[in-house]
Protein backbone atom coordinates (compact mmCIF):
# COMPACT_ATOMS: atom_id res chain seq x y z
CA UNK A 1 0.00 0.00 0.00
CA UNK A 2 2.82 2.40 0.88
CA UNK A 3 4.57 1.48 -2.37
CA UNK A 4 1.59 2.66 -4.41
CA UNK A 5 1.35 6.02 -2.72
CA UNK A 6 5.06 6.74 -2.46
CA UNK A 7 5.43 8.96 -5.58
CA UNK A 8 2.46 11.12 -4.61
CA UNK A 9 3.64 11.28 -1.02
CA UNK A 10 7.09 12.34 -2.16
CA UNK A 11 5.63 15.17 -4.24
CA UNK A 12 3.46 16.25 -1.31
CA UNK A 13 6.56 16.30 0.89
CA UNK A 14 8.47 18.43 -1.60
CA UNK A 15 5.43 20.68 -1.96
CA UNK A 16 5.29 21.16 1.80
CA UNK A 17 8.95 22.14 1.90
CA UNK A 18 8.42 24.64 -0.92
CA UNK A 19 5.32 26.10 0.73
CA UNK A 20 7.07 26.49 4.08
CA UNK A 21 10.08 27.95 2.30
CA UNK A 22 7.83 30.59 0.80
CA UNK A 23 6.53 31.73 4.17
CA UNK A 24 9.55 33.96 4.59
CA UNK A 25 8.46 36.07 1.65
CA UNK A 26 10.53 38.26 -0.65
CA UNK A 27 9.83 42.01 -0.85
CA UNK A 28 8.47 43.21 -4.19
CA UNK A 29 11.54 45.39 -4.67
CA UNK A 30 13.69 42.23 -4.83
CA UNK A 31 11.49 40.40 -7.33
CA UNK A 32 12.91 41.77 -10.57
CA UNK A 33 14.29 38.42 -11.73
CA UNK A 34 11.27 36.33 -10.72
CA UNK A 35 8.88 38.77 -12.44
CA UNK A 36 10.24 38.24 -15.95
CA UNK A 37 7.92 36.45 -18.41
CA UNK A 38 9.94 33.24 -18.40
CA UNK A 39 9.66 32.98 -14.61
CA UNK A 40 5.86 33.23 -14.34
CA UNK A 41 3.30 30.50 -13.91
CA UNK A 42 0.50 31.54 -16.21
CA UNK A 43 -2.37 30.14 -18.24
CA UNK A 44 -1.64 32.56 -21.10
CA UNK A 45 -0.78 30.63 -24.29
CA UNK A 46 2.33 32.71 -25.04
CA UNK A 47 3.74 31.99 -21.58
CA UNK A 48 3.76 28.27 -22.08
CA UNK A 49 0.43 27.07 -20.80
CA UNK A 50 0.51 23.29 -20.98
CA UNK A 51 -0.92 21.79 -24.13
CA UNK A 52 -4.18 19.94 -23.70
CA UNK A 53 -3.29 17.26 -26.24
CA UNK A 54 -0.43 15.92 -24.10
CA UNK A 55 -2.91 14.26 -21.74
CA UNK A 56 -4.02 11.98 -24.58
CA UNK A 57 -0.71 10.13 -24.65
CA UNK A 58 0.23 10.75 -21.00
CA UNK A 59 -3.03 10.22 -19.09
CA UNK A 60 -1.39 10.29 -15.68
CA UNK A 61 -0.78 14.02 -16.05
CA UNK A 62 -4.46 14.77 -15.58
CA UNK A 63 -6.17 14.28 -12.26
CA UNK A 64 -9.10 12.87 -14.21
CA UNK A 65 -12.17 14.37 -15.77
CA UNK A 66 -12.61 18.07 -15.31
CA UNK A 67 -9.41 19.99 -15.48
CA UNK A 68 -8.43 21.75 -12.32
CA UNK A 69 -6.89 25.19 -12.27
CA UNK A 70 -3.36 25.13 -13.61
CA UNK A 71 -1.78 28.09 -11.87
CA UNK A 72 -2.25 30.54 -9.09
CA UNK A 73 -0.85 33.65 -10.70
CA UNK A 74 -3.20 33.56 -13.65
CA UNK A 75 -4.85 36.79 -14.60
Amino acid sequence: MMRIRLPVSFCVLIATVLILGGCAGVPAAQQRLVSRPGMLFSDAPHLGARGALAAQIEPGRAAGGAQAAGCTACR
Binding site: P7, V8, A44, H46, I57, C71
Partner: protein
Protein backbone atom coordinates in the same frame (compact mmCIF):
# COMPACT_ATOMS: atom_id res chain seq x y z
CA UNK B 1 -13.58 25.91 -39.03
CA UNK B 2 -10.08 26.39 -37.67
CA UNK B 3 -9.39 28.88 -40.45
CA UNK B 4 -12.58 30.74 -39.62
CA UNK B 5 -11.56 30.98 -35.98
CA UNK B 6 -8.10 32.21 -36.91
CA UNK B 7 -9.49 34.78 -39.35
CA UNK B 8 -12.03 35.90 -36.77
CA UNK B 9 -9.26 36.42 -34.27
CA UNK B 10 -7.07 38.32 -36.72
CA UNK B 11 -10.01 40.47 -37.83
CA UNK B 12 -10.91 41.26 -34.24
CA UNK B 13 -7.33 42.06 -33.44
CA UNK B 14 -6.92 44.29 -36.51
CA UNK B 15 -10.22 46.08 -35.92
CA UNK B 16 -9.27 46.77 -32.35
CA UNK B 17 -5.81 48.05 -33.15
CA UNK B 18 -6.69 51.63 -32.20
CA UNK B 19 -5.38 52.83 -28.83
CA UNK B 20 -7.70 52.94 -25.81
CA UNK B 21 -10.14 50.65 -27.57
CA UNK B 22 -12.81 49.37 -25.15
CA UNK B 23 -15.50 46.74 -25.44
CA UNK B 24 -18.51 47.06 -23.12
CA UNK B 25 -16.43 49.49 -21.08
CA UNK B 26 -13.68 46.91 -20.52
CA UNK B 27 -10.06 46.74 -21.65
CA UNK B 28 -9.90 43.84 -24.13
CA UNK B 29 -7.14 41.33 -24.77
CA UNK B 30 -7.26 38.63 -27.43
CA UNK B 31 -5.44 35.34 -27.02
CA UNK B 32 -5.05 32.47 -29.40
CA UNK B 33 -3.54 29.05 -29.07
CA UNK B 34 -3.14 26.20 -31.49
CA UNK B 35 -1.60 22.78 -31.11
CA UNK B 36 -0.77 19.84 -33.36
CA UNK B 37 0.04 16.28 -32.36
CA UNK B 38 0.82 13.99 -35.29
CA UNK B 39 2.05 10.43 -35.82
CA UNK B 40 2.04 8.21 -38.89
CA UNK B 41 -1.61 7.20 -38.40
CA UNK B 42 -3.08 9.81 -36.07
CA UNK B 43 -3.39 13.58 -36.38
CA UNK B 44 -4.86 15.76 -33.65
CA UNK B 45 -5.30 19.52 -33.70
CA UNK B 46 -6.66 21.98 -31.23
CA UNK B 47 -7.33 25.70 -31.66
CA UNK B 48 -8.80 28.14 -29.20
CA UNK B 49 -9.47 31.87 -29.29
CA UNK B 50 -10.06 33.82 -26.11
CA UNK B 51 -11.35 37.33 -25.60
CA UNK B 52 -10.55 38.77 -22.16
CA UNK B 53 -12.52 41.74 -20.91
CA UNK B 54 -11.07 43.55 -17.91
CA UNK B 55 -13.25 45.98 -15.95
CA UNK B 56 -10.69 46.42 -13.18
CA UNK B 57 -12.21 44.47 -10.30
CA UNK B 58 -13.85 41.95 -12.60
CA UNK B 59 -12.53 40.05 -15.60
CA UNK B 60 -14.33 37.76 -18.02
CA UNK B 61 -12.69 35.39 -20.49
CA UNK B 62 -14.73 34.00 -23.36
CA UNK B 63 -13.14 31.08 -25.23
CA UNK B 64 -14.21 29.28 -28.37
CA UNK B 65 -12.38 26.10 -29.26
CA UNK B 66 -12.24 23.74 -32.21
CA UNK B 67 -10.54 20.33 -32.20
CA UNK B 68 -10.04 17.80 -34.97
CA UNK B 69 -9.17 14.11 -34.72
CA UNK B 70 -8.10 11.97 -37.67
CA UNK B 71 -7.17 8.31 -37.36
CA UNK B 72 -6.29 5.58 -39.82
CA UNK B 73 -8.07 2.77 -38.06
CA UNK B 74 -6.41 -0.59 -38.63
CA UNK B 75 -7.69 -3.85 -37.15
CA UNK B 76 -5.30 -6.51 -35.95
CA UNK B 77 -4.33 -9.27 -38.38
CA UNK B 78 -6.52 -11.82 -36.58
CA UNK B 79 -9.60 -9.55 -36.46
CA UNK B 80 -11.55 -11.20 -39.29
CA UNK B 81 -14.44 -8.74 -39.03
CA UNK B 82 -12.41 -5.54 -38.98
CA UNK B 83 -11.66 -3.24 -41.90
CA UNK B 84 -9.17 -0.46 -42.36
CA UNK B 85 -10.94 2.89 -42.33
CA UNK B 86 -10.07 6.54 -41.95
CA UNK B 87 -12.15 8.42 -39.40
CA UNK B 88 -12.31 12.20 -39.19
CA UNK B 89 -14.13 13.87 -36.34
CA UNK B 90 -14.28 17.37 -34.90
CA UNK B 91 -15.37 18.90 -31.63
CA UNK B 92 -16.39 22.43 -30.73
CA UNK B 93 -16.23 23.92 -27.28
CA UNK B 94 -17.12 27.12 -25.49
CA UNK B 95 -16.12 28.39 -22.08
CA UNK B 96 -16.75 31.41 -19.90
CA UNK B 97 -14.43 32.17 -16.97
CA UNK B 98 -14.99 34.95 -14.46
CA UNK B 99 -12.62 36.47 -11.93
CA UNK B 100 -13.75 39.02 -9.36
CA UNK B 101 -11.58 40.84 -6.83
CA UNK B 102 -13.52 40.61 -3.58
CA UNK B 103 -10.89 42.31 -1.45
CA UNK B 104 -7.30 43.54 -1.51
CA UNK B 105 -5.93 39.98 -1.31
CA UNK B 106 -8.87 37.81 -2.35
CA UNK B 107 -10.24 36.85 -5.75
CA UNK B 108 -13.28 34.72 -6.51
CA UNK B 109 -13.28 32.47 -9.57
CA UNK B 110 -16.02 30.79 -11.55
CA UNK B 111 -16.26 29.01 -14.87
CA UNK B 112 -18.71 27.28 -17.16
CA UNK B 113 -17.94 25.27 -20.26
CA UNK B 114 -19.20 22.66 -22.70
CA UNK B 115 -17.85 20.56 -25.56
CA UNK B 116 -19.57 18.60 -28.29
CA UNK B 117 -17.58 15.82 -29.95
CA UNK B 118 -14.87 13.24 -29.30
CA UNK B 119 -12.21 14.37 -26.87
CA UNK B 120 -9.52 11.74 -27.54
CA UNK B 121 -8.18 9.60 -30.36
CA UNK B 122 -8.44 6.57 -28.13
CA UNK B 123 -12.20 7.02 -27.68
CA UNK B 124 -12.53 7.45 -31.44
CA UNK B 125 -10.49 4.31 -32.16
CA UNK B 126 -12.56 2.22 -29.75
CA UNK B 127 -15.77 3.67 -31.14
CA UNK B 128 -14.73 2.55 -34.63
CA UNK B 129 -13.89 -0.92 -33.29
CA UNK B 130 -17.31 -1.32 -31.64
CA UNK B 131 -19.07 0.23 -34.61
CA UNK B 132 -17.56 -2.31 -37.04
CA UNK B 133 -18.53 -5.17 -34.75
CA UNK B 134 -21.94 -4.24 -33.46
CA UNK B 135 -23.54 -1.51 -35.62
CA UNK B 136 -27.01 -2.61 -36.63
CA UNK B 137 -27.51 -4.96 -33.70
CA UNK B 138 -30.32 -4.26 -31.23
CA UNK B 139 -28.94 -2.18 -28.41
CA UNK B 140 -26.22 -0.40 -30.41
CA UNK B 141 -26.36 3.38 -30.51
CA UNK B 142 -24.29 5.81 -32.51
CA UNK B 143 -21.99 7.61 -30.10
CA UNK B 144 -22.53 11.32 -29.45
CA UNK B 145 -19.89 12.26 -26.91
CA UNK B 146 -20.14 15.64 -25.20
CA UNK B 147 -19.50 17.15 -21.82
CA UNK B 148 -20.35 20.14 -19.66
CA UNK B 149 -18.55 21.44 -16.60
CA UNK B 150 -18.62 24.21 -14.07
CA UNK B 151 -16.04 25.34 -11.59
CA UNK B 152 -15.72 27.66 -8.62
CA UNK B 153 -12.81 28.72 -6.50
CA UNK B 154 -10.92 31.40 -4.65
CA UNK B 155 -7.39 32.77 -4.75
CA UNK B 156 -5.84 34.32 -1.68
CA UNK B 157 -2.65 36.38 -1.84
CA UNK B 158 -1.60 35.61 1.72
CA UNK B 159 1.79 37.28 1.37
CA UNK B 160 1.90 40.35 -0.89
CA UNK B 161 3.40 39.51 -4.30
CA UNK B 162 5.12 36.39 -3.01
CA UNK B 163 2.60 33.95 -1.53
CA UNK B 164 -0.58 32.70 -3.19
CA UNK B 165 -2.96 29.86 -2.43
CA UNK B 166 -5.80 28.81 -4.67
CA UNK B 167 -8.61 26.37 -3.95
CA UNK B 168 -10.88 25.19 -6.72
CA UNK B 169 -13.73 22.77 -7.23
CA UNK B 170 -15.19 21.58 -10.49
CA UNK B 171 -17.84 19.14 -11.63
CA UNK B 172 -18.01 17.70 -15.12
CA UNK B 173 -20.69 15.54 -16.66
CA UNK B 174 -19.51 13.61 -19.68
CA UNK B 175 -21.52 11.65 -22.20
CA UNK B 176 -18.94 9.14 -23.45
CA UNK B 177 -18.79 6.83 -26.43
CA UNK B 178 -19.82 3.61 -24.63
CA UNK B 179 -18.17 0.24 -24.89
CA UNK B 180 -20.03 -2.98 -25.63
CA UNK B 181 -19.98 -6.63 -24.67
CA UNK B 182 -21.99 -9.41 -26.18
CA UNK B 183 -23.16 -12.68 -24.63
CA UNK B 184 -26.14 -15.01 -24.82
CA UNK B 185 -28.41 -12.23 -23.55
CA UNK B 186 -27.40 -9.98 -26.42
CA UNK B 187 -25.51 -6.73 -26.60
CA UNK B 188 -24.67 -4.95 -23.35
CA UNK B 189 -23.72 -1.31 -23.36
CA UNK B 190 -21.23 0.15 -20.92
CA UNK B 191 -21.58 3.34 -18.91
CA UNK B 192 -22.67 6.31 -21.01
CA UNK B 193 -22.58 9.13 -18.47
CA UNK B 194 -19.69 9.85 -16.15
CA UNK B 195 -19.61 12.52 -13.47
CA UNK B 196 -16.27 13.80 -12.20
CA UNK B 197 -15.80 15.95 -9.11
CA UNK B 198 -12.38 17.55 -8.76
CA UNK B 199 -10.71 19.55 -6.03
CA UNK B 200 -7.49 21.40 -6.64
CA UNK B 201 -5.28 23.12 -4.06
CA UNK B 202 -2.31 25.09 -5.34
CA UNK B 203 0.39 27.17 -3.67
CA UNK B 204 2.71 29.57 -5.41
CA UNK B 205 5.63 31.18 -3.66
CA UNK B 206 8.53 33.47 -4.36
CA UNK B 207 11.03 31.69 -2.16
CA UNK B 208 14.12 33.76 -2.95
CA UNK B 209 14.81 36.69 -5.32
CA UNK B 210 15.73 34.05 -7.93
CA UNK B 211 13.31 31.19 -7.21
CA UNK B 212 9.56 30.91 -7.85
CA UNK B 213 7.78 27.65 -7.01
CA UNK B 214 4.37 26.11 -7.38
CA UNK B 215 2.87 23.11 -5.62
CA UNK B 216 -0.33 21.60 -6.95
CA UNK B 217 -2.40 18.98 -5.15
CA UNK B 218 -5.33 17.37 -6.93
CA UNK B 219 -8.16 15.01 -6.13
CA UNK B 220 -10.68 13.68 -8.64
CA UNK B 221 -13.56 11.29 -8.19
CA UNK B 222 -15.20 9.80 -11.28
CA UNK B 223 -18.30 7.60 -11.41
CA UNK B 224 -17.56 3.90 -10.95
CA UNK B 225 -13.87 4.55 -10.30
CA UNK B 226 -11.73 4.94 -7.24
CA UNK B 227 -10.53 8.48 -6.50
CA UNK B 228 -7.39 9.66 -8.24
CA UNK B 229 -4.82 11.69 -6.31
CA UNK B 230 -2.21 13.84 -7.92
CA UNK B 231 0.63 16.08 -6.84
CA UNK B 232 2.92 18.27 -8.90
CA UNK B 233 5.76 20.58 -7.98
CA UNK B 234 7.29 23.12 -10.34
CA UNK B 235 10.08 25.60 -9.93
CA UNK B 236 11.65 28.39 -11.97
CA UNK B 237 15.13 29.55 -11.12
CA UNK B 238 16.97 32.52 -12.60
CA UNK B 239 20.60 31.50 -13.01
CA UNK B 240 21.42 35.07 -13.99
CA UNK B 241 20.27 37.83 -16.28
CA UNK B 242 20.15 35.56 -19.34
CA UNK B 243 19.53 32.02 -18.17
CA UNK B 244 16.43 30.50 -16.58
CA UNK B 245 15.88 26.89 -15.51
CA UNK B 246 12.37 25.52 -15.27
CA UNK B 247 11.61 22.09 -13.86
CA UNK B 248 8.59 20.07 -12.82
CA UNK B 249 7.84 16.69 -11.30
CA UNK B 250 4.51 15.07 -10.66
CA UNK B 251 2.72 11.86 -9.80
CA UNK B 252 -0.78 10.39 -9.90
CA UNK B 253 -2.21 7.49 -7.95
CA UNK B 254 -5.47 5.62 -8.37
CA UNK B 255 -6.27 2.46 -6.50
CA UNK B 256 -5.82 -0.36 -6.92
CA UNK B 257 -2.87 -0.24 -9.30
CA UNK B 258 -2.62 2.91 -11.40
CA UNK B 259 0.47 5.02 -10.80
CA UNK B 260 2.10 7.63 -12.98
CA UNK B 261 5.24 9.71 -12.61
CA UNK B 262 6.62 12.41 -14.85
CA UNK B 263 9.02 15.30 -14.85
CA UNK B 264 11.83 17.09 -16.58
CA UNK B 265 13.78 20.32 -16.99
CA UNK B 266 13.67 23.20 -19.46
CA UNK B 267 16.40 25.79 -20.07
CA UNK B 268 15.73 29.29 -21.39
CA UNK B 269 18.22 31.72 -22.89
CA UNK B 270 17.08 35.35 -22.84
CA UNK B 271 18.57 37.00 -25.93
CA UNK B 272 17.06 40.44 -25.39
CA UNK B 273 14.36 41.88 -23.14
CA UNK B 274 11.74 40.71 -25.62
CA UNK B 275 13.22 37.57 -27.17
CA UNK B 276 14.03 34.20 -25.64
CA UNK B 277 14.87 30.70 -26.84
CA UNK B 278 14.19 27.59 -24.82
CA UNK B 279 14.70 23.82 -24.94
CA UNK B 280 13.62 21.05 -22.66
CA UNK B 281 12.67 17.44 -22.16
CA UNK B 282 10.36 15.32 -20.05
CA UNK B 283 9.99 11.67 -19.10
CA UNK B 284 6.69 10.00 -18.32
CA UNK B 285 5.68 6.52 -17.20
CA UNK B 286 2.58 4.84 -15.84
CA UNK B 287 1.47 1.38 -14.84
CA UNK B 288 -1.44 1.13 -17.25
CA UNK B 289 -5.03 2.12 -16.77
CA UNK B 290 -7.33 0.14 -14.53
CA UNK B 291 -10.44 0.91 -16.46
CA UNK B 292 -11.71 3.67 -18.67
CA UNK B 293 -14.87 5.30 -19.86
CA UNK B 294 -15.57 2.29 -22.03
CA UNK B 295 -14.92 -1.29 -20.95
CA UNK B 296 -12.13 -2.51 -18.69
CA UNK B 297 -11.00 -4.86 -21.43
CA UNK B 298 -9.92 -1.88 -23.53
CA UNK B 299 -7.77 -0.39 -20.76
CA UNK B 300 -4.37 0.85 -21.89
CA UNK B 301 -1.29 -1.17 -20.90
CA UNK B 302 1.64 0.43 -19.12
CA UNK B 303 3.15 3.34 -21.03
CA UNK B 304 6.36 5.33 -21.15
CA UNK B 305 7.21 8.41 -23.15
CA UNK B 306 10.12 10.74 -23.77
CA UNK B 307 9.48 14.30 -24.88
CA UNK B 308 11.83 16.93 -26.28
CA UNK B 309 10.92 20.46 -27.35
CA UNK B 310 12.59 23.66 -28.54
CA UNK B 311 11.00 27.03 -29.11
CA UNK B 312 11.12 30.79 -29.23
CA UNK B 313 9.11 33.43 -27.38
CA UNK B 314 8.70 37.14 -28.01
CA UNK B 315 7.27 39.45 -25.37
CA UNK B 316 6.13 42.72 -26.92
CA UNK B 317 4.21 45.71 -25.61
CA UNK B 318 1.04 44.78 -27.45
CA UNK B 319 1.75 41.45 -29.14
CA UNK B 320 3.42 38.50 -27.46
CA UNK B 321 3.77 35.06 -28.96
CA UNK B 322 5.43 31.71 -28.51
CA UNK B 323 6.16 28.85 -30.93
CA UNK B 324 7.51 25.45 -29.93
CA UNK B 325 8.19 22.28 -31.88
CA UNK B 326 9.11 18.90 -30.52
CA UNK B 327 8.88 15.14 -30.63
CA UNK B 328 7.40 12.54 -28.32
CA UNK B 329 8.26 8.88 -28.36
CA UNK B 330 5.55 6.82 -26.67
CA UNK B 331 6.06 3.13 -25.87
CA UNK B 332 3.37 0.78 -24.62
CA UNK B 333 3.89 -2.53 -22.89
CA UNK B 334 2.62 -5.52 -24.90
CA UNK B 335 -1.12 -6.06 -24.81
CA UNK B 336 -2.49 -9.13 -23.05
CA UNK B 337 -5.15 -11.66 -24.00
CA UNK B 338 -7.94 -9.26 -23.07
CA UNK B 339 -6.61 -6.36 -25.09
CA UNK B 340 -4.95 -8.03 -28.09
CA UNK B 341 -7.65 -6.63 -30.37
CA UNK B 342 -6.23 -3.17 -29.62
CA UNK B 343 -2.62 -3.89 -30.56
CA UNK B 344 -2.69 -1.20 -33.22
CA UNK B 345 -4.20 1.33 -30.86
CA UNK B 346 -1.62 0.64 -28.15
CA UNK B 347 1.43 0.45 -30.36
CA UNK B 348 4.60 2.49 -30.03
CA UNK B 349 4.54 5.78 -31.89
CA UNK B 350 6.71 8.76 -32.71
CA UNK B 351 4.77 12.00 -32.44
CA UNK B 352 5.50 15.43 -33.84
CA UNK B 353 4.27 18.28 -31.67
CA UNK B 354 3.75 21.89 -32.63
CA UNK B 355 2.39 24.55 -30.30
CA UNK B 356 1.83 28.21 -30.98
CA UNK B 357 0.14 30.84 -28.88
CA UNK B 358 -0.17 34.56 -28.64
CA UNK B 359 -1.68 37.46 -26.81
CA UNK B 360 -2.72 40.83 -28.26
CA UNK B 361 -3.42 43.78 -26.00
CA UNK B 362 -5.70 46.10 -27.93
Amino acid sequence: MKRILTLAFLAAAAAAGEPERRIFGATPTAEFGTELLRSSDITLTQAADTLRLDWGETEAALTIGFNTLAIDYAPTAFDLFGQERGRRESAVSAQVALRHRAGPWLELLAGLGAQDGFDSYRALWLDEYFSQRFAGRPGYRRAKPRNAAFSAGARWEYRPSSGFVQLGYSRAQTEVAPGYEIDFDGLRRGAETLVTDSVNLAFENVVTPRLRTRADLRFASTSERDPRWGAEVSCRYALGERWIVRAEAGASDERPTFRAQYGGPELEFVVTETLAFFAGGQLYRDTGEIENALLFTSAAPAARSQRAEIGVRRDGETLSWRVAVGTVRSDFAPTNRDTDFFQNLYRDRHWLTLRAGGSWKF
